[in-house]
Amino acid sequence: MEDPSQQLPPGWIAQWDETHQRHLFIDQNTGQSQWEPPALPGAGAPAPGPAAGGHTKRRQYAAGQTQAYYGESGVVHPPAPGDMAGNAVGGSSFFTPAGGDQPPAQPSGFYNPTAMGQGPGVFSAGGFVAPAQPSAYQQQQPQVGALTDQFSQMGLQPGYGQKQFALHTVNLVGAFLDPRELVGPPPEIRLPPGACVSQEVTANADYTYQRCTMNAIPTTNSLLGKAKLPFGLILTPHRSLKEGDAAVQVVTDQVIARCRRCRTYINPYVTFIDGGARWKCCMCNVSNEVPQMFDWDQATNTPGDRWKRAELNHGVVDFVAPTEYMVRPPQAPVYVFLLDVSQHGVASGMLATATRTILESLDRLPNTDNRTKVAIIGFDTALHFFCVPSGSTESTLLVVSDLDDVFLPKPTDLLINLTEARAGLETLLGRLSDMFVDTHSVGSALGPALQAGFKLISSLGGKLIVCTSTLPTLGTGALKAREDPKVFGTSKESSLLQAADAFYKTFAIECSRSQVSVDMFLFSAQYQDVATLSCLPHYTAGNTFFYPAFNAARSEDAIKFAHEFGEILASPICLEAVIRVRASRGLRMSSFHGNFFVRSTDLLSLPAVPLDQSYAIEVQIEENITSPFVVFQTAVLHTTSDGERRIRVVTSAYPTTSNISEVYASADQVAIATLLANKAVERSISSKLEDARDALSNKMVDILTTYKNTMTSSGGGASAALSIADNMKFLPLLTLGLLKHVGIRQSTQIPSDLRAYAQALLTTLPSQLLIPYLHPTFYGLHNMPPECGTIGEQGVIMPPPLPLTSERLERHGLYLIEDGQTMFLWVGRDAVPQLIMDVFELPAYEQLRTGKATLPLLENVFSQRVNAVINKTREMRRGPYWPHLYIVKEDGEAAMRLWALSMLVQDRGAENLPSYPQFLTSLKERVNGSSYT
């Protein structure tokens, strides 16, 4: 359910009146205006302004959404009955712009100068308003019902007997956006009754596995074209499970019922006919026989109950595949480590950290049946092979300096069984970095090393894991330092984001064919051509990690790399995978974005499916849809790291609609933003960065214009409001975040390695990581409520996030800004010594150093709470990433300060990037302008 507190009846708009400092409500149909919010039974104050808005909105925050958010981050504030009055509680709460109308000295925080003398007692004070109010939630029930009634009275066609989507329009201008709403679930999927054979809520796949940009699908292509919303599917079929997540159900009896025409797997949306003897496919309507084993329990040899079968009750299910699904017996996991042993790799400490992490991760590598194989190859100006005979603790080093025609110096003992050669491997890893400690060789034969690794495992498949500190300079695949700062910000910039050498594409294709996946860990301080090197992970379904100017002497660098590397090594992988997405008749998968190789028009080939990687697929409506709902089914045929061939089938069904308002009311802004990010990156590489940005803002203008013309009464005329559906209200902000993102934004300063890496992340991060990457999270720590940072029922309680504007930065404050990849601890210039002492163990602000840091854990409550918040931030989103923590002083190093401030995307950015209000104004002008023509 969406938050309706900002909703107005159709035709009403709210206008902020500067002189009276309150909202004026205007009925656009009659022209009548009033100060009171238009009557909606049980409605709160509609469309509150930025200042007053926080309280009202938070008071009415839907309990379901709160639950969903805090389920991840663990904040559940106890209901505070006294806060019902909302606005009456403390004018000094977090949602009042501090820099603006209120003097900074106001006692709003715990560590402000006036509060100093009071000692630690101030911790309990402060204007905090509880965000979740069960009682307010109760109040909303009649209100939503009334709205729905109103809509049906207005003559909106009821769909196919299912509940209606109620469209809530909000005015973006002046609207307050609560960052917490971004993390909530998408609009509900309201299937017609009888669509599903199961009563289970799990019959539709959870949105974390598969989500659609619209939860009600337009029946015709012209309706889709009219709505202007992009139509696509966001997949994360192999997602990690955290404690509390339901495990995927497994069908072990090898009875796999599939449609004989379209090969769809049986799912909860088929219909049983002929008294249950046959089933009708939900995609192509062909009737198929029900396997007899559906009603027979093989394990106990007794009649079974087909209605209890997992594939008829769960949207996400794993089938254990019989031998027909195997081209060859399931392969064991194979890991080949290609380590840069040149002077750069050794001097930066990369080699030592990498070997230590591998050594420590040997027990965590997937190796259930002792079949896992490992090889280690070093490369600098030559190739160094390590030969470890099984059972021996000794290893021999074989050097190959012929780079033109790569050969393996020994047929055996290079690729070794992890269990059998464990002792030798441990000795080798323990002293490998010492063997090269005095090396003076400068140069990198990465291409030949890749070829050697490929030769070693091409008959088996597996993973090549590359750690390299320099640009490849020798042999095949040698690259030039092509970066030219003069082309930054020009239309030629995208050529730096394309692959420089064809080797990295042809080799990727070879790898994909032989089921070899490549992971890249890049460490260079100089230009390393991330754009070209990341091609290998891109087409072989691997991961790219980039640690610019890595130096293991800084413990933060070493910890970050060791953590991420260790997570990748320990994660269960799916080998030899293919993904195919099937959909109901009339729908076609038209283009694919993500890390894989497209092997045919609808088949994606992935030598390995990494954990928590996301794929985006654009969908086309080819012919009119007549059925009341459509089904998307993703099938991932793979070999688990336990050596079992399995098929993961993810099925989700969506209702169809011929009503444009339902299309809007069901739009999933997070999925739309994810798809737009993928398309923008592709556009920026194949065409120009400028084109990608233009396409983004044009898309936004198109959506807003159509929305205004079809959904609001102002129609084609000019309007002071900028209207959009409540469930899409973050879309312009997310788009602005994308336009200002390192991967996309207009700038003459961004090194192309950073751009290329940001783009790689934009196309692979799953939604829970991508959204903060576009729209960072911003917390005030100095004045966080007393329970924040302590352990609550669902883990560490997080402070309430602030809107991303520097207006919220108080001069005495301590703030955390994080985007899932980097964290900034912002210290205001007037931070009191007590705070500096408590958090950093330093006597004064002046002693504080800007830059990468590890926060000490001190013997005081505040330090422990801040540390708890930071640690929770690092782990609360599923994924391998370990964000760096940077300390930023308000008057410190300019570059660092600007970097931190660039995360506050609602502000005006450097190089003339618009602020959020400016962006809205330009959108509004274009929306109004285009509707005149």
């Binding site: 594409k505 990727a508 294709i509 064919r513 087409y539 283009s591 694919f592 190789f597 497209v598 092997r599 045919s600 028009t601 088949l603 592709e682 194949s686």
Partner: protein, 137 residues
């Protein structure tokens, strides 16, 4: 004008050859759409023909230049320029990793080239006949 008859005869044969190459390309692309061939094999196959096709066309144009057939030369120059530009930008080869995204564009290009070679074919045929007639008079 003894040579022009022979020259246009060569032109007719060349245009026919190029015509068939384009038909082959188009058939291969539709095979790809129907999953009869995988993108790697397709690109390997087609890429062997890309440079010969361009070279052959450039050679024909050169012949027109040397023999002073200005109309035929100007007819062919735009395509030569287009091909040269593609080679300069290094995107004349088919890329298996991108083929599905760019397939529409490739097909369109092939159809346009097909039309062009067809027009050229009849034009050369006409010029050949004209040349033969004037020769026999």
């Amino acid at each position: 004008m003894l040579g022009s008859g022979w020259l246009f005869l060569f032109g007719v044969l060349a245009a026919a050859g190029l015509l068939f190459t384009m038909v082959f390309f188009i058939i291969m692309f539709s095979d790809l759409e129907c999953d009869y061939i995988n993108p790697i094999d397709l690109c390997n196959k087609l890429n062997t023909f890309v440079l010969p096709e361009m070279g052959f066309h450039a050679f024909l144009t050169l012949c027109f230049l040397l023999s002073g057939q200005w109309t035929a030369l100007f007819l062919n120059l735009p395509l030569v320029a287009f091909n040269v530009q593609k080679i300069m930008n290094k995107n004349h080869m088919y890329d298996a990793t991108e083929i599905f995204r760019t397939l529409g564009g490739h097909k369109k290009e092939c159809f346009i080239k097909l039309g062009f070679y067809l027009v050229s074919f009849f034009y050369y045929l006409y010029r050949m006949i004209v040349a033969l007639i004037s020769e026999s008079e």
